[in-house]
């Protein structure tokens, strides 16, 4: 959050002194995004004080997932590339954070700047992996791309077991994270601090993504998605655009994975299975392909639905074994059915339905006035 605030003052100037209309519009878009981010940040701080620690932790998890779903939204929704491998990219980020934090802890280094450094390293390593996969992906289409990324999603977590000397196998690694700074007070709840951390990082990422989508790059992403040949004829370098989209998407997924690792203070291959990759895709589809707001819905759903099924199974009186089976699998079944139903009935997703509703209301309002 501090980062977003720091970024605010200088950007005001171009809006005020904008000479050409183009500049002013651009400035106002940026301003709008900044205002929105600031409002979200304030809201988040307010909420972090209002709700109990467990909810804080859940919201922090939503924020971490949001990074990944937003990245996937950019890739699949805006650029038309389907990735089933974002779970693996999250794993890359998560393991990098684990390595960095462990290295810092082993050397006895402390300080508030270490965690951002680790997160930066996580993003960097995912960018590298994303660039490699992205270069391959740019040459592939439709089902081929889906197949390759599916293979990535299945194979990469298995690597943790293959090279268990480095990754410590199924057990995984622990991620040492420092307590909240002393300046916040002795009794500052740890979960609130987690939410602040995750929220700040995610809001910054969302701000950057929102601006990217509105920029020239966002337009080329969409152009390539809609018609590659037309985009090429319009002078867009298709392959480069696709790699860029993949890298951006990978970076946010890496950040999301890193945040998850920081929140859980551990990382293991089981957390980044194929199921997670499918979950992310489902979240993006249900939220509404191609809309950042849809990614928010998807991330919320990822956390809320298992929680909800947990409470439902608790209400039913079941034998422990049955309850355990149900609890583990009911969310999956619901996700699966929702994915199919949404794809068939409402390809726009939740956000699509909402915007349609909103447009319908707006259309009615001026009609009434006149």
């Amino acid at each position: 959050m501090s980062a977003t605030r720091a970024a605010l003052p200088p950007t005001r100037e171009p809006d005020g002194v904008g000479e050409r209309p183009v500049d002013r519009r651009r400035g106002s878009t940026l301003l709008r995004h900044l205002t929105f981010t600031l409002a979200a940040a304030l809201l988040l701080v307010g909420v972090s004080y209002a709700v109990e620690p467990f909810r804080n932790f859940q919201l922090a998890t939503v924020a971490a997932y949001l990074c990944a779903t937003a990245g996937l939204t950019v890739l699949t929704g805006l650029n038309g590339q389907l990735s089933l491998g974002h779970g693996a990219l999250m794993a890359t980020g998560a393991y990098t954070v684990a390595f960095c934090q462990n290295a810092f802890a082993d050397r006895g280094m402390t300080g508030g700047w270490l965690l951002p450094l680790s997160l930066g390293a996580a993003i960097l390593s995912t960018v590298v992996v994303g660039a490699v996969v992205g270069v391959a992906a740019a040459r592939l289409r439709g089902p081929y791309l889906a197949g390759v990324t599916l293979a990535v999603a299945i194979v990469v977590p298995a690597l943790a077991v293959t090279f268990d000397g480095v990754f410590n196998g199924e057990q995984g690694l622990s991620v040492p994270v420092e307590p909240p700074p002393a300046s916040l007070g002795l009794y500052f709840p740890y979960e609130r601090w987690q939410l602040w951390l995750a929220g700040a990082a995610t809001l910054l990422a969302m701000l950057l993504l929102a601006n990217l989508i509105r920029s020239r790059f966002g337009r080329t992403f969409r152009a390539v998605r809609d018609d590659e040949v037309a985009a090429r004829l319009a002078g867009i370098h298709v392959a480069r655009t696709q790699v860029l989209a993949f890298v951006v998407s990978a970076a946010t997924a890496g950040l999301g994975g890193a945040l998850l690792a920081v929140l859980a203070q551990s990382v293991s291959p089981g957390a980044f299975s194929l199921t997670l990759s499918l979950f992310l895709l489902m979240a993006v589809v249900i939220g509404g392909l191609g809309r950042l707001a849809g990614a928010v819905w998807g991330a919320v759903l990822l956390v809320a639905l298992p929680d909800l099924t947990h409470s439902v199974t608790e209400l039913l009186t079941l034998s422990p074994a049955v309850a355990q089976r149900l609890e583990g699998n009911l969310p999956l079944a619901i996700f699966g059915v929702t994915l199919i139903v949404v794809m068939i009935a409402a390809p726009g997703g939740v956000q699509g339905l909402l915007s349609r509703l909103g447009r319908a209301l707006l259309a009615r309002l001026p009609a009434r006035r006149s």
Binding site: G142, Y144, L281, G328, A333, G336, M343
Partner: protein, 292 residues
């Protein structure tokens, strides 16, 4: 050398299964232009049905037959109840729906049967018979070769020689013209899904006893290997799928025999990427183009 012979036979036996599974993928791809990412989950579901039947009746063979019938029905059901309603204008849509099916089927299996590995029995001994002191073939390997040989040649005969095979090919290549010629294109599509899913169920029945056992995710890696096999052969070519399956099976067997079984998933990924980057149309693409 003995080890090499053993690994080769083992690889061909595995490869035969991949070939069948890849063939099932190719069948649906040719008929509907959909890569059925749910095929692994569907095949596991059929195998679970067989497991239940075998456990109830004590007969492996009854379970075996039921698995294939269940596979056929499940394929038809998926086409009629789900895929038919999917908007196919974007290739992403059917893929996403298939993934939804994966989640759903695996979750239902997990709810009904739990997530622990269940031992799957093999109907024949899996210890290799030795010929001249060299361990060569197990009776189970022979069974795998025979079963898959029968299915593959049966399918080949059906497509090449029978009226229904001709209809299915026509419906896949030119749906609109085929309708004008009196072909029930929707029915052929359902038949294609059913056949593919039946073949997938057979492959699952054959491969699961050689692995850790029955589990909702038992076919995940097999699917990736079979997809790789289909891509190696070129997604459009049934003979390519068979050859691709054998190639992948051999490769995995050598990798696991000489370098360690942990490395096989990585080997699949490397092969898939290598083929797609070097020859995106599959290794047999130019040959096939000349033949067609």
């Amino acid at each position: 050398m003995d080890r090499f012979v053993f690994l080769t036979i083992d690889g061909l036996s595995r490869g035969a299964v991949y070939a069948a599974f890849a063939l099932a993928l190719v069948l649906i791809w040719r008929a509907a232009r959909v890569v059925n990412f749910a095929q692994g989950a569907m095949a596991v579901a059929a195998a679970y049905v067989a497991y239940t039947v075998s456990a109830e009746t004590g007969s492996y063979w009854l379970g075996f037959v039921v698995a294939i019938v269940a596979g056929l029905l499940l394929g038809a059901l998926v086409d009629r109840a789900v895929m038919r309603f999917v908007d196919h204008t974007s290739p992403l849509n059917p893929v996403i729906v298939a993934l939804g099916l994966v989640l759903l089927i695996q979750a239902v299996l997990g709810m009904v049967y739990g997530s622990e590995f269940r031992p799957a029995e093999a109907p024949f001994s899996r210890s290799a018979l030795s010929v001249g002191g060299v361990a060569v073939l197990s009776p189970y390997d022979l069974f795998v070769f025979a079963a898959i040989g029968v299915v593959v040649s049966g399918l080949a005969w059906m497509f090449a020689r029978t009226p229904v095979g001709l209809r299915m090919r026509a419906a896949a290549f030119a749906p609109e013209v085929s309708r004008l010629l009196g072909v029930n294109v929707g029915g052929m599509l359902t038949l294609g899904w059913a056949l593919a899913s039946g073949v997938g169920a057979l492959a699952a029945m054959l491969v699961i006893p050689t692995e850790l056992g029955l589990h909702p995710h038992a076919m995940d890696l097999v699917f990736v290997s079979a997809f790789t096999a289909a891509v190696v052969g070129g997604l459009d070519s049934p003979p390519g799928a068979v050859v691709g399956g054998l190639v992948v099976g051999l490769l995995l067997s050598y990798v696991s025999g000489y370098a360690g079984s942990d490395l096989t998933p990585l080997a699949v990924l490397v092969l898939l990427l290598a083929v797609l980057l070097v020859r995106p149309g599959g290794l047999f693409a130019p040959v096939a183009a000349r033949r067609v």
